[in-house]
Every structure is written in structure tokens, then in C-alpha cells.
Symmetry: C2
Subunit: 222 residues, 2 copies
């Protein structure tokens, strides 16, 4: 299975870390509102990321994340967040909860080259990976901020491929975001969709090559 695969390239948000774990920080600041605030925050964060890319306006993920937070606070609480509270909630994104199987799975895959490729800017991505203690697993931590083109733009995947110096067919691209798997497939990678939430597969004509319930499915390549 996948004998030619030399490197596993991981998406980060939703794939390694549970993005909705920001709800906990929201709940502490606004009791009873944490889940709604976290869900809307993440959903708007993703929508804004796509919209800025579509409009040709690159804005680092740290800023997009704050825009999403502002919308969510306004939507659910009808207020504006002061700078100190905004910074406090933003920092929840630097301490997301990893999924339980991640560390053990990455450890078992250490014969392969492992790397991450994320829409997160380095000012979010690096502390997140560091704080979880995962930095030693990865040969590269690559951010779209280096080329200022968000996934699923073709340019973003091309940049990553150039940077790691491997061939398309030597890479297995791993993401729990169906749109990211579709983008990677569109670029020509083999793809594994980590379908943690048993979601219906998208109808984009870009089906994943492999579908697993969590990262342990990748142990086929160890």
C-alpha cells in the first residue's frame, strides 16, 4: 500500500488539533455561550479565509482569525470585544487540544518524512505545534504565509512541493478538511481524508483516495 510514499504532509487545524476546543476559553469568558461562540468563530474564520483569497486580498491567518472572532462576538453578544479580551481569546488558538491518537501515531510513522502544511501563519502555527510538544516530529513546518496564497489555491500546494523537493507521487496529503483533500487531489497528490465526524463526502468530483476515521489509519504506511 503506497510503496512510493516518502512523505506524509499533514494539515493542522482540524486534522491534528481540535479547533472547536477554543469553545472552552469562550465559555470561561462568556458562560453559557462558549459552544455557539466557538462554532461561529471557526466557521467565519474559514469563510473569511476563502473570501479574502477569492478577492485577491491576502491577509495572514492570525488577522483572519481575529475577524472571525469579532463577527462571532457581535453575532452572539451584540457587542465589540476590547483589545485585551480579543487577545486573550485569540491565544486559545495557540493552545488547541490535539486529538488523542496524534502523538502515538506520529511516533510510529517516524520512518517517513513527516511535515505540516497549513493555512496558519507562522505566528500561530509555530507556537501551536511547539506548545503541544510536536515540533520534533516534523521535518518541515510550512505555512501558506510564505507565498501568501491560501489552500486550496493551486499555487499554495505548488509552493509546498517546491519547498520539500519531492515528487507529486511521493507524497500522501492528509487532512480532515474535505475541501483541503479536494484541493490536494486537484493538484495531483494522493490524499487521505480523516473523516473524524463521519461527514458526507463532498460532490466536487475530487474524491479522496483513502478515508479513515482518525490518524491511526495512516499506520498502513509505517
Amino acid at each position: 500500500m503506497g510503496i512510493s510514499i516518502k512523505a506524509l504532509v499533514f494539515d493542522v487545524y482540524g486534522t491534528i488539533f481540535d479547533v472547536l476546543s477554543v469553545s472552552k476559553a469562550c465559555e470561561e469568558m462568556y458562560p453559557g455561550k462558549g459552544e455557539d461562540l466557538g462554532k461561529t468563530w471557526h466557521s467565519k474564520q474559514m469563510e473569511y479565509l476563502f473570501l479574502h483569497q477569492l478577492m485577491g486580498r491576502y491577509i495572514p491567518f492570525s488577522e483572519v482569525t481575529k475577524e472571525g472572532l469579532r463577527f462571532s462576538i457581535n453575532e452572539h453578544l451584540g457587542e465589540k470585544l476590547g483589545a485585551a479580551k480579543e487577545q486573550e481569546l485569540f491565544e486559545a488558538f495557540l493552545h488547541l487540544t490535539p486529538y488523542p491518537e496524534v502523538a502515538e501515531t506520529l511516533e510510529q510513522l517516524k520512518e517517513k518524512e513527516l511535515m505540516v502544511f497549513s493555512n496558519g501563519s507562522h505566528n500561530m502555527l509555530d507556537p501551536l505545534v511547539e506548545n503541544a510538544g510536536y515540533a520534533p516530529f516534523f521535518k518541515h513546518i510550512i505555512s501558506v504565509d510564505e507565498i501568501k496564497q491560501f489552500k486550496p489555491s493551486l499555487y499554495s500546494y505548488q509552493y509546498m512541493l517546491n519547498k520539500i523537493g519531492l515528487k507529486h507521487e511521493e507524497i500522501l496529503f492528509v487532512s480532515s478538511n474535505n475541501w483541503d483533500v479536494a484541493g490536494a487531489k486537484n493538484f495531483g497528490f494522493q490524499t487521505a481524508w480523516i473523516n473524524r465526524k463521519k461527514q458526507t463526502v463532498d460532490e466536487l468530483g475530487l474524491d479522496p483516495d483513502f478515508i479513515f476515521e482518525d490518524l491511526t489509519g495512516l499506520l498502513n504506511w509505517k
Copy 2:
């Protein structure tokens, strides 16, 4: 107010017609499921439109609409739709219900140049406008299909501007989709957001110039 405005350019889906009126056709075919089917259909239709554009894959809106429908049927009913039923539901998009104030408002604005500019391909857009009897109101019916770049890409708005032969500042761009208003604003148009559902304004740094509850707010320009 807006003395320099020569033309009002209207978005179509959500702005002139109620997209969720497709739920009625869904309900007739699948009793008890119409509202869910319609909502998911439209939401995926929009997500896929953005994703195809982000990936550099232009696919006509008629096809994107069918992809969204397939997802919705699979999501809510766990089945695939046969070709005949798919076509029957697709045709609901050619007979959307217009909002009640549209015809009277357009009639009163006839001293201005009125036109539509839509992500819909002509095979959807033209019959929709015809079926409602609105074709005589519009000097141009412009589809992104002519340039194969979906809104909110800069290229799409630029194409429309070239086609109508006016200047940026002579146009008021009208949409009920906040992302579309943001895209038009990003391109340099004056914009009016028709906020029919009293939604929270997006935090994209591209606020609308005007916000109205329905199209009658445009009578300021008659």
C-alpha cells in the same frame, strides 16, 4: 444622494429571487424533508462555487447547482438521485419566487440603467428572469460564465464593468449577499447591501456603503 449614479447593477440569487423557495419542490418530492434539503442544497452550492474558483476549476453554475443537490440528497436521505428526479429538482431553480417588492421597485427605477450580474450561467439565469417576466427591466443580463470567473473574483467585476462601458463611480452595485457586496466594494464600486434577514455585518474590512431592508431603499436613486 448618489447624483453620479447612472446604473444599478443587481445580483440575482437572494437579491431578486428567494433561493430557498426551492424547498417547496423538495418538500413535494420528499415530504417532511423540504426545508433541510433546500438549505443544505443552497449552502453547498455556494461552498462549491467558491471552492471551484479557489482551485482554478471553473464549472458552470448549473453544474455546481447539481453537485450541491447531490450532496444534500445524500446527506439527508442517504441516497443517490436518479437523473429524472435530479432534473426535476434542478428546474426549481428556473422558477424561484421573486421577493414581493421587486417588480414595483424596478418599475419605479426605470429612469436609471438597470442590469443584472450573476454567478448563474445563462442556461439558468436567462430562463429565471424570463419566467418571472423581468427581462424587460434590464438593459444587460450578464453572467460570469462569459469570463469563467465567479464573483467575488476581481476579474468578474472587471469584466462586467468593461462590458457595460461605464465608470466605477457611475455604478451602484446591489446584492443581498454580504460577500458579494464586499467583493464589489473591494473592486471599487459603491455598494448597497439588501440585508433582508437582519444578518450581522461581516468583519472583512469592506463595509457596504448603504444597507437597506429590501429593494425599496433604492428608491432614493429614482
